[in-house]
Symmetry: none
Subunit: 246 residues, 2 copies
Protein backbone atom coordinates (compact mmCIF):
# COMPACT_ATOMS: atom_id res chain seq x y z
CA UNK A 1 0.00 0.00 0.00
CA UNK A 2 1.10 3.55 -0.71
CA UNK A 3 0.95 4.81 2.83
CA UNK A 4 2.36 8.27 2.13
CA UNK A 5 -0.59 9.16 -0.10
CA UNK A 6 -3.94 10.08 1.39
CA UNK A 7 -7.34 10.86 -0.07
CA UNK A 8 -9.25 13.67 1.65
CA UNK A 9 -13.02 13.97 1.11
CA UNK A 10 -14.58 17.25 2.21
CA UNK A 11 -18.17 17.58 3.40
CA UNK A 12 -19.39 14.55 1.49
CA UNK A 13 -23.21 14.52 1.38
CA UNK A 14 -23.89 10.88 0.51
CA UNK A 15 -22.30 8.26 2.78
CA UNK A 16 -22.55 5.76 -0.08
CA UNK A 17 -19.98 7.82 -1.94
CA UNK A 18 -17.57 7.51 0.98
CA UNK A 19 -17.87 3.74 0.92
CA UNK A 20 -17.47 3.61 -2.85
CA UNK A 21 -14.42 5.89 -2.65
CA UNK A 22 -12.84 3.57 -0.06
CA UNK A 23 -13.37 0.62 -2.37
CA UNK A 24 -11.90 2.54 -5.31
CA UNK A 25 -8.85 3.49 -3.22
CA UNK A 26 -8.15 -0.01 -2.02
CA UNK A 27 -8.26 -1.49 -5.54
CA UNK A 28 -5.42 0.88 -6.38
CA UNK A 29 -3.30 0.27 -3.26
CA UNK A 30 -4.31 3.42 -1.37
CA UNK A 31 -5.45 2.98 2.23
CA UNK A 32 -5.30 6.35 3.93
CA UNK A 33 -8.69 8.09 3.97
CA UNK A 34 -9.48 11.37 5.71
CA UNK A 35 -13.04 12.66 6.03
CA UNK A 36 -13.57 16.37 6.69
CA UNK A 37 -17.00 17.10 8.21
CA UNK A 38 -18.85 14.25 6.48
CA UNK A 39 -22.68 14.14 6.46
CA UNK A 40 -24.42 11.18 8.06
CA UNK A 41 -21.26 9.21 8.66
CA UNK A 42 -20.64 6.49 9.80
CA UNK A 43 -23.51 4.74 8.04
CA UNK A 44 -24.59 1.31 6.90
CA UNK A 45 -24.76 2.65 3.35
CA UNK A 46 -21.07 3.56 3.41
CA UNK A 47 -20.13 0.14 4.76
CA UNK A 48 -22.25 -1.64 2.15
CA UNK A 49 -20.74 0.28 -0.75
CA UNK A 50 -17.21 -0.24 0.61
CA UNK A 51 -17.65 -3.97 0.02
CA UNK A 52 -14.39 -5.60 1.18
CA UNK A 53 -12.73 -2.24 1.80
CA UNK A 54 -14.44 -1.57 5.13
CA UNK A 55 -11.04 -1.69 6.83
CA UNK A 56 -10.32 1.67 5.17
CA UNK A 57 -13.50 3.05 6.74
CA UNK A 58 -12.57 1.62 10.13
CA UNK A 59 -9.18 3.36 9.92
CA UNK A 60 -10.46 6.59 8.34
CA UNK A 61 -9.67 9.81 10.18
CA UNK A 62 -12.62 12.13 10.67
CA UNK A 63 -11.85 15.79 11.39
CA UNK A 64 -13.28 19.25 11.17
CA UNK A 65 -11.84 21.63 8.60
CA UNK A 66 -9.35 20.86 5.83
CA UNK A 67 -6.33 22.23 7.67
CA UNK A 68 -6.21 19.37 10.15
CA UNK A 69 -6.34 16.80 7.36
CA UNK A 70 -3.37 18.23 5.51
CA UNK A 71 -1.28 19.60 8.38
CA UNK A 72 1.52 17.06 7.91
CA UNK A 73 1.40 16.93 4.09
CA UNK A 74 4.14 18.21 1.80
CA UNK A 75 2.09 18.35 -1.34
CA UNK A 76 -1.64 19.04 -1.57
CA UNK A 77 -3.51 18.60 -4.84
CA UNK A 78 -7.13 19.67 -5.20
CA UNK A 79 -9.54 17.97 -7.60
CA UNK A 80 -11.43 20.55 -9.56
CA UNK A 81 -14.16 20.14 -12.15
CA UNK A 82 -14.23 23.74 -13.29
CA UNK A 83 -11.82 26.44 -14.25
CA UNK A 84 -11.06 29.00 -11.62
CA UNK A 85 -10.88 32.72 -11.83
CA UNK A 86 -7.60 32.76 -9.96
CA UNK A 87 -5.32 30.56 -12.00
CA UNK A 88 -3.64 27.69 -10.24
CA UNK A 89 -1.48 25.13 -12.05
CA UNK A 90 -3.71 22.21 -13.10
CA UNK A 91 -2.55 18.72 -14.00
CA UNK A 92 -4.34 16.15 -16.03
CA UNK A 93 -4.84 12.87 -14.14
CA UNK A 94 -1.83 11.20 -15.73
CA UNK A 95 0.66 13.92 -14.80
CA UNK A 96 -1.00 14.14 -11.41
CA UNK A 97 -0.40 10.43 -10.83
CA UNK A 98 3.26 10.76 -11.72
CA UNK A 99 3.77 13.82 -9.55
CA UNK A 100 1.95 12.36 -6.55
CA UNK A 101 3.92 9.15 -6.77
CA UNK A 102 7.24 10.93 -7.08
CA UNK A 103 6.57 13.22 -4.14
CA UNK A 104 5.31 10.38 -1.99
CA UNK A 105 8.71 8.75 -2.08
CA UNK A 106 10.02 11.51 0.16
CA UNK A 107 6.98 13.13 1.79
CA UNK A 108 3.27 12.89 2.51
CA UNK A 109 0.83 13.84 -0.24
CA UNK A 110 -2.90 14.62 -0.07
CA UNK A 111 -5.37 14.61 -2.95
CA UNK A 112 -8.43 16.58 -1.86
CA UNK A 113 -11.95 16.11 -3.26
CA UNK A 114 -14.72 18.64 -2.55
CA UNK A 115 -18.47 18.42 -2.17
CA UNK A 116 -20.57 16.46 -4.67
CA UNK A 117 -22.44 19.58 -5.79
CA UNK A 118 -20.09 22.49 -5.29
CA UNK A 119 -16.57 21.12 -5.13
CA UNK A 120 -13.89 23.00 -3.20
CA UNK A 121 -14.35 26.47 -1.74
CA UNK A 122 -11.91 29.24 -2.54
CA UNK A 123 -10.53 28.98 0.98
CA UNK A 124 -9.86 25.30 0.46
CA UNK A 125 -8.28 25.91 -2.94
CA UNK A 126 -5.92 28.31 -1.22
CA UNK A 127 -4.48 25.30 0.61
CA UNK A 128 -3.68 23.43 -2.61
CA UNK A 129 -0.33 23.51 -4.38
CA UNK A 130 -1.84 22.26 -7.61
CA UNK A 131 -5.15 21.28 -9.08
CA UNK A 132 -6.00 18.15 -10.99
CA UNK A 133 -8.70 18.30 -13.63
CA UNK A 134 -10.23 15.26 -15.31
CA UNK A 135 -10.91 15.99 -18.98
CA UNK A 136 -14.55 15.02 -19.48
CA UNK A 137 -17.46 15.51 -21.83
CA UNK A 138 -17.99 19.28 -21.89
CA UNK A 139 -21.74 18.68 -22.18
CA UNK A 140 -21.78 16.43 -19.12
CA UNK A 141 -18.65 16.65 -16.99
CA UNK A 142 -20.51 15.31 -13.96
CA UNK A 143 -18.26 12.55 -12.64
CA UNK A 144 -19.48 10.78 -9.56
CA UNK A 145 -17.21 11.50 -6.57
CA UNK A 146 -16.08 7.89 -6.17
CA UNK A 147 -15.51 7.64 -9.93
CA UNK A 148 -13.19 10.63 -9.77
CA UNK A 149 -11.34 9.05 -6.85
CA UNK A 150 -11.08 5.84 -8.88
CA UNK A 151 -9.51 7.64 -11.85
CA UNK A 152 -6.96 9.58 -9.79
CA UNK A 153 -6.08 6.50 -7.72
CA UNK A 154 -5.68 4.48 -10.92
CA UNK A 155 -3.24 7.01 -12.35
CA UNK A 156 -1.23 7.01 -9.12
CA UNK A 157 -1.09 3.22 -9.24
CA UNK A 158 -0.08 3.27 -12.91
CA UNK A 159 2.70 5.72 -12.11
CA UNK A 160 3.88 3.51 -9.26
CA UNK A 161 3.92 0.40 -11.44
CA UNK A 162 5.72 2.28 -14.17
CA UNK A 163 8.30 3.57 -11.69
CA UNK A 164 8.83 0.05 -10.38
CA UNK A 165 9.63 -1.08 -13.87
CA UNK A 166 6.52 -3.19 -14.19
CA UNK A 167 5.06 -0.75 -16.66
CA UNK A 168 3.86 -3.55 -18.87
CA UNK A 169 1.45 -4.31 -16.06
CA UNK A 170 -0.52 -7.01 -17.67
CA UNK A 171 0.59 -10.55 -17.98
CA UNK A 172 0.93 -10.11 -21.70
CA UNK A 173 0.47 -12.93 -24.04
CA UNK A 174 2.84 -15.64 -22.81
CA UNK A 175 2.57 -17.73 -25.95
CA UNK A 176 5.70 -18.24 -27.97
CA UNK A 177 4.81 -17.86 -31.66
CA UNK A 178 5.95 -20.63 -33.95
CA UNK A 179 9.28 -19.93 -35.61
CA UNK A 180 9.82 -19.23 -39.30
CA UNK A 181 10.67 -22.83 -40.18
CA UNK A 182 7.51 -24.16 -38.55
CA UNK A 183 5.46 -21.54 -40.37
CA UNK A 184 7.01 -22.48 -43.70
CA UNK A 185 6.16 -26.13 -43.11
CA UNK A 186 2.60 -25.08 -42.34
CA UNK A 187 2.34 -23.00 -45.51
CA UNK A 188 3.85 -25.79 -47.61
CA UNK A 189 1.36 -28.27 -46.17
CA UNK A 190 -1.49 -25.81 -46.71
CA UNK A 191 -0.52 -25.17 -50.33
CA UNK A 192 -0.23 -28.88 -51.10
CA UNK A 193 -3.62 -29.59 -49.54
CA UNK A 194 -5.31 -26.77 -51.44
CA UNK A 195 -3.92 -28.18 -54.70
CA UNK A 196 -5.26 -31.63 -53.83
CA UNK A 197 -8.65 -30.11 -53.03
CA UNK A 198 -8.63 -28.35 -56.44
CA UNK A 199 -8.97 -25.07 -54.61
CA UNK A 200 -5.58 -23.82 -55.75
CA UNK A 201 -4.53 -24.16 -59.38
CA UNK A 202 -0.70 -24.44 -59.41
CA UNK A 203 -0.71 -23.14 -62.98
CA UNK A 204 -2.60 -20.04 -61.95
CA UNK A 205 -2.08 -19.55 -58.21
CA UNK A 206 -2.92 -15.84 -58.25
CA UNK A 207 -2.59 -14.25 -54.80
CA UNK A 208 -4.19 -17.01 -52.75
CA UNK A 209 -1.19 -18.16 -50.74
CA UNK A 210 -0.13 -14.59 -50.15
CA UNK A 211 -3.53 -13.75 -48.73
CA UNK A 212 -3.50 -16.79 -46.48
CA UNK A 213 -0.01 -15.96 -45.26
CA UNK A 214 -1.11 -12.47 -44.31
CA UNK A 215 -4.04 -13.90 -42.41
CA UNK A 216 -2.13 -16.52 -40.44
CA UNK A 217 0.87 -14.31 -39.86
CA UNK A 218 -1.39 -11.77 -38.17
CA UNK A 219 -2.57 -14.44 -35.75
CA UNK A 220 1.01 -15.52 -34.89
CA UNK A 221 0.04 -19.10 -34.09
CA UNK A 222 2.12 -20.93 -31.52
CA UNK A 223 3.56 -24.41 -32.13
CA UNK A 224 0.51 -26.11 -30.64
CA UNK A 225 -1.85 -24.18 -32.91
CA UNK A 226 0.29 -24.98 -35.94
CA UNK A 227 -0.04 -28.64 -35.02
CA UNK A 228 -3.82 -28.33 -34.84
CA UNK A 229 -3.96 -26.64 -38.25
CA UNK A 230 -1.71 -29.28 -39.80
CA UNK A 231 -3.84 -31.98 -38.20
CA UNK A 232 -6.88 -30.52 -39.97
CA UNK A 233 -5.01 -30.42 -43.27
CA UNK A 234 -3.97 -34.04 -42.82
CA UNK A 235 -7.57 -35.03 -42.09
CA UNK A 236 -8.74 -33.31 -45.29
CA UNK A 237 -6.06 -35.12 -47.29
CA UNK A 238 -6.99 -38.50 -45.83
CA UNK A 239 -10.71 -38.03 -46.47
CA UNK A 240 -9.94 -37.26 -50.07
CA UNK A 241 -7.89 -40.43 -50.44
CA UNK A 242 -8.64 -42.89 -47.64
CA UNK A 243 -5.75 -45.11 -48.68
CA UNK A 244 -3.22 -42.35 -48.45
CA UNK A 245 -2.26 -42.97 -44.85
CA UNK A 246 -3.58 -46.42 -44.17
CA UNK B 1 -20.10 11.38 -28.77
CA UNK B 2 -18.21 8.30 -29.94
CA UNK B 3 -21.14 6.55 -31.54
CA UNK B 4 -19.17 3.62 -33.01
CA UNK B 5 -18.17 2.43 -29.55
CA UNK B 6 -20.61 0.56 -27.36
CA UNK B 7 -20.47 -0.74 -23.83
CA UNK B 8 -22.11 -4.13 -23.28
CA UNK B 9 -23.04 -5.20 -19.75
CA UNK B 10 -23.90 -8.87 -19.31
CA UNK B 11 -26.30 -10.19 -16.69
CA UNK B 12 -25.77 -7.27 -14.33
CA UNK B 13 -27.22 -8.11 -10.89
CA UNK B 14 -27.56 -4.64 -9.39
CA UNK B 15 -29.55 -2.09 -11.40
CA UNK B 16 -27.69 0.67 -9.57
CA UNK B 17 -24.53 -0.43 -11.33
CA UNK B 18 -26.25 -0.02 -14.69
CA UNK B 19 -27.18 3.56 -13.86
CA UNK B 20 -23.70 4.34 -12.54
CA UNK B 21 -22.15 2.81 -15.67
CA UNK B 22 -24.35 5.02 -17.86
CA UNK B 23 -23.21 8.07 -15.95
CA UNK B 24 -19.56 7.01 -16.24
CA UNK B 25 -19.97 6.51 -19.99
CA UNK B 26 -21.58 9.85 -20.63
CA UNK B 27 -18.85 11.76 -18.79
CA UNK B 28 -16.41 10.25 -21.29
CA UNK B 29 -18.50 10.86 -24.45
CA UNK B 30 -19.83 7.32 -24.83
CA UNK B 31 -23.57 6.93 -25.35
CA UNK B 32 -24.24 3.46 -26.72
CA UNK B 33 -25.22 1.02 -23.97
CA UNK B 34 -26.33 -2.59 -24.52
CA UNK B 35 -27.71 -4.69 -21.69
CA UNK B 36 -27.66 -8.46 -22.04
CA UNK B 37 -30.21 -10.18 -19.77
CA UNK B 38 -30.04 -7.60 -16.95
CA UNK B 39 -31.59 -8.39 -13.56
CA UNK B 40 -34.40 -6.18 -12.27
CA UNK B 41 -34.12 -3.64 -15.04
CA UNK B 42 -35.52 -1.04 -15.68
CA UNK B 43 -35.52 0.21 -12.11
CA UNK B 44 -35.73 3.43 -10.15
CA UNK B 45 -32.33 2.63 -8.64
CA UNK B 46 -30.71 2.61 -12.08
CA UNK B 47 -32.31 5.92 -13.01
CA UNK B 48 -31.26 7.52 -9.71
CA UNK B 49 -27.64 6.47 -10.08
CA UNK B 50 -27.58 7.56 -13.72
CA UNK B 51 -28.08 11.13 -12.53
CA UNK B 52 -28.19 13.29 -15.69
CA UNK B 53 -27.30 10.35 -17.92
CA UNK B 54 -30.79 8.83 -17.97
CA UNK B 55 -30.95 9.47 -21.72
CA UNK B 56 -28.42 6.65 -22.12
CA UNK B 57 -30.75 4.35 -20.19
CA UNK B 58 -33.72 5.44 -22.30
CA UNK B 59 -31.78 4.58 -25.44
CA UNK B 60 -30.13 1.41 -24.07
CA UNK B 61 -30.71 -1.77 -26.06
CA UNK B 62 -31.78 -4.76 -23.99
CA UNK B 63 -31.29 -8.19 -25.52
CA UNK B 64 -30.88 -11.84 -24.68
CA UNK B 65 -27.45 -13.40 -25.21
CA UNK B 66 -24.20 -11.70 -26.08
CA UNK B 67 -24.33 -12.60 -29.78
CA UNK B 68 -27.13 -10.15 -30.52
CA UNK B 69 -25.27 -7.31 -28.84
CA UNK B 70 -22.12 -7.77 -30.92
CA UNK B 71 -23.51 -9.11 -34.20
CA UNK B 72 -22.56 -5.94 -36.11
CA UNK B 73 -19.28 -5.26 -34.28
CA UNK B 74 -15.86 -5.62 -35.90
CA UNK B 75 -13.82 -5.62 -32.72
CA UNK B 76 -14.94 -7.09 -29.41
CA UNK B 77 -12.90 -6.59 -26.25
CA UNK B 78 -13.77 -8.40 -23.03
CA UNK B 79 -12.98 -6.99 -19.60
CA UNK B 80 -11.36 -9.69 -17.51
CA UNK B 81 -10.19 -9.66 -13.92
CA UNK B 82 -8.38 -12.99 -13.99
CA UNK B 83 -5.92 -14.84 -16.15
CA UNK B 84 -7.26 -17.54 -18.37
CA UNK B 85 -6.03 -21.01 -19.12
CA UNK B 86 -6.35 -20.58 -22.88
CA UNK B 87 -4.31 -17.52 -23.63
CA UNK B 88 -5.91 -14.57 -25.30
CA UNK B 89 -4.07 -11.29 -25.84
CA UNK B 90 -4.74 -8.86 -22.97
CA UNK B 91 -4.34 -5.10 -23.10
CA UNK B 92 -3.86 -2.74 -20.23
CA UNK B 93 -6.51 0.00 -20.16
CA UNK B 94 -4.29 2.53 -21.90
CA UNK B 95 -3.47 0.35 -24.90
CA UNK B 96 -7.10 -0.73 -24.94
CA UNK B 97 -8.23 2.90 -25.19
CA UNK B 98 -5.90 3.55 -28.11
CA UNK B 99 -6.91 0.40 -29.94
CA UNK B 100 -10.63 0.93 -29.42
CA UNK B 101 -10.41 4.50 -30.61
CA UNK B 102 -8.41 3.58 -33.70
CA UNK B 103 -10.76 0.79 -34.69
CA UNK B 104 -13.83 2.92 -34.09
CA UNK B 105 -12.80 5.25 -36.86
CA UNK B 106 -13.65 2.58 -39.41
CA UNK B 107 -15.89 0.03 -37.65
CA UNK B 108 -18.05 -0.68 -34.65
CA UNK B 109 -16.37 -1.72 -31.41
CA UNK B 110 -17.82 -3.35 -28.29
CA UNK B 111 -16.26 -3.47 -24.85
CA UNK B 112 -17.97 -6.22 -22.88
CA UNK B 113 -18.24 -6.38 -19.08
CA UNK B 114 -19.40 -9.54 -17.32
CA UNK B 115 -21.27 -10.25 -14.12
CA UNK B 116 -20.35 -8.49 -10.88
CA UNK B 117 -19.37 -11.75 -9.19
CA UNK B 118 -18.21 -14.08 -11.91
CA UNK B 119 -17.25 -11.96 -14.94
CA UNK B 120 -17.47 -13.44 -18.41
CA UNK B 121 -18.15 -17.08 -19.15
CA UNK B 122 -15.82 -19.07 -21.38
CA UNK B 123 -18.46 -19.03 -24.11
CA UNK B 124 -18.57 -15.24 -23.91
CA UNK B 125 -14.79 -14.98 -23.95
CA UNK B 126 -14.86 -17.02 -27.15
CA UNK B 127 -16.57 -14.06 -28.80
CA UNK B 128 -13.81 -11.60 -27.82
CA UNK B 129 -10.86 -10.68 -30.01
CA UNK B 130 -8.92 -9.31 -27.07
CA UNK B 131 -9.15 -8.91 -23.35
CA UNK B 132 -8.54 -5.81 -21.28
CA UNK B 133 -7.26 -6.19 -17.75
CA UNK B 134 -7.09 -3.36 -15.21
CA UNK B 135 -3.94 -3.71 -13.13
CA UNK B 136 -5.16 -3.52 -9.54
CA UNK B 137 -4.13 -4.30 -5.99
CA UNK B 138 -3.42 -8.04 -6.05
CA UNK B 139 -4.78 -8.29 -2.50
CA UNK B 140 -8.04 -6.59 -3.48
CA UNK B 141 -8.62 -6.38 -7.22
CA UNK B 142 -12.36 -5.99 -6.69
CA UNK B 143 -13.27 -2.99 -8.84
CA UNK B 144 -16.91 -2.04 -8.87
CA UNK B 145 -18.48 -2.64 -12.29
CA UNK B 146 -19.22 1.04 -12.93
CA UNK B 147 -15.71 1.97 -11.76
CA UNK B 148 -14.24 -0.41 -14.33
CA UNK B 149 -16.46 1.12 -17.02
CA UNK B 150 -15.28 4.56 -15.88
CA UNK B 151 -11.61 3.64 -16.25
CA UNK B 152 -11.98 2.06 -19.69
CA UNK B 153 -14.18 4.92 -20.92
CA UNK B 154 -11.65 7.42 -19.58
CA UNK B 155 -8.81 5.77 -21.48
CA UNK B 156 -10.88 5.74 -24.68
CA UNK B 157 -11.60 9.45 -24.22
CA UNK B 158 -7.93 10.19 -23.50
CA UNK B 159 -6.94 8.34 -26.68
CA UNK B 160 -9.51 10.34 -28.64
CA UNK B 161 -8.26 13.64 -27.23
CA UNK B 162 -4.69 12.63 -27.91
CA UNK B 163 -5.50 11.62 -31.50
CA UNK B 164 -7.34 14.85 -32.14
CA UNK B 165 -4.66 16.93 -30.52
CA UNK B 166 -1.52 15.48 -32.00
CA UNK B 167 -2.57 13.25 -34.85
CA UNK B 168 -0.03 10.71 -33.61
CA UNK B 169 -2.51 7.92 -33.41
CA UNK B 170 -2.97 6.94 -37.00
CA UNK B 171 -5.00 3.91 -37.86
CA UNK B 172 -2.50 1.72 -39.68
CA UNK B 173 -4.74 -1.16 -40.54
CA UNK B 174 -7.41 -0.09 -42.99
CA UNK B 175 -9.09 -3.47 -43.27
CA UNK B 176 -12.57 -3.74 -41.83
CA UNK B 177 -12.73 -6.97 -39.81
CA UNK B 178 -15.71 -9.24 -40.36
CA UNK B 179 -18.54 -8.61 -37.93
CA UNK B 180 -19.71 -10.98 -35.21
CA UNK B 181 -22.45 -12.60 -37.30
CA UNK B 182 -20.05 -13.39 -40.16
CA UNK B 183 -17.57 -14.87 -37.71
CA UNK B 184 -20.25 -17.09 -36.19
CA UNK B 185 -21.16 -18.40 -39.65
CA UNK B 186 -17.48 -19.15 -40.25
CA UNK B 187 -17.14 -21.03 -36.96
CA UNK B 188 -20.34 -22.96 -37.61
CA UNK B 189 -19.06 -23.98 -41.05
CA UNK B 190 -15.64 -24.88 -39.63
CA UNK B 191 -17.15 -27.04 -36.89
CA UNK B 192 -19.42 -28.87 -39.33
CA UNK B 193 -16.51 -29.54 -41.69
CA UNK B 194 -14.27 -30.82 -38.90
CA UNK B 195 -17.01 -33.25 -37.87
CA UNK B 196 -17.37 -34.49 -41.44
CA UNK B 197 -13.59 -34.94 -41.62
CA UNK B 198 -13.71 -36.99 -38.39
CA UNK B 199 -11.30 -34.48 -36.88
CA UNK B 200 -13.80 -33.28 -34.31
CA UNK B 201 -15.84 -35.76 -32.33
CA UNK B 202 -19.12 -34.03 -31.44
CA UNK B 203 -19.49 -36.40 -28.47
CA UNK B 204 -16.10 -35.33 -27.12
CA UNK B 205 -15.27 -31.92 -28.60
CA UNK B 206 -12.79 -31.02 -25.87
CA UNK B 207 -11.36 -27.51 -26.38
CA UNK B 208 -10.81 -27.71 -30.12
CA UNK B 209 -13.30 -25.09 -31.30
CA UNK B 210 -12.32 -22.78 -28.47
CA UNK B 211 -8.68 -22.96 -29.49
CA UNK B 212 -9.54 -22.33 -33.12
CA UNK B 213 -11.72 -19.36 -32.17
CA UNK B 214 -8.87 -17.81 -30.21
CA UNK B 215 -6.57 -18.31 -33.18
CA UNK B 216 -8.88 -16.79 -35.80
CA UNK B 217 -10.15 -14.05 -33.48
CA UNK B 218 -6.57 -12.89 -33.03
CA UNK B 219 -6.21 -12.55 -36.79
CA UNK B 220 -9.46 -10.54 -37.13
CA UNK B 221 -10.11 -11.72 -40.70
CA UNK B 222 -11.97 -9.35 -43.00
CA UNK B 223 -15.01 -10.39 -45.03
CA UNK B 224 -12.89 -11.36 -48.04
CA UNK B 225 -10.66 -13.59 -45.91
CA UNK B 226 -13.69 -15.21 -44.31
CA UNK B 227 -14.93 -16.01 -47.82
CA UNK B 228 -11.59 -17.61 -48.72
CA UNK B 229 -11.64 -19.74 -45.56
CA UNK B 230 -15.21 -20.82 -46.19
CA UNK B 231 -14.30 -21.59 -49.79
CA UNK B 232 -11.58 -23.94 -48.53
CA UNK B 233 -14.01 -25.60 -46.13
CA UNK B 234 -16.50 -26.06 -48.94
CA UNK B 235 -13.81 -27.62 -51.14
CA UNK B 236 -12.90 -30.07 -48.35
CA UNK B 237 -16.57 -31.03 -47.93
CA UNK B 238 -17.04 -31.60 -51.68
CA UNK B 239 -13.89 -33.70 -52.01
CA UNK B 240 -15.12 -35.87 -49.20
CA UNK B 241 -18.41 -36.40 -50.98
CA UNK B 242 -18.16 -35.51 -54.68
CA UNK B 243 -21.92 -35.77 -55.11
CA UNK B 244 -22.62 -33.31 -52.34
CA UNK B 245 -22.70 -30.26 -54.61
CA UNK B 246 -23.03 -31.73 -58.06
Amino acid sequence: MYSNIRIVLINTSHPGNIGAAARAMKTMCLDSLWLVDPHGYPSAEATARASGADDLLANARVCSGLDKAIADCHLVIGASARLRSIPCPAFGPRDCGIRVWQESESGRVAVVFGREQSGLSNQELDRCHHLVHVPANPEYPSLNLAAAVQLIAYEIHMAALSAKGTGQLVAQDRRLPADGAEMERLYGHLEQTLIELDFLNPDNPRQLMRRLRRLFNRAQPDANEVNILRGILGAAQRKRDPNRFP
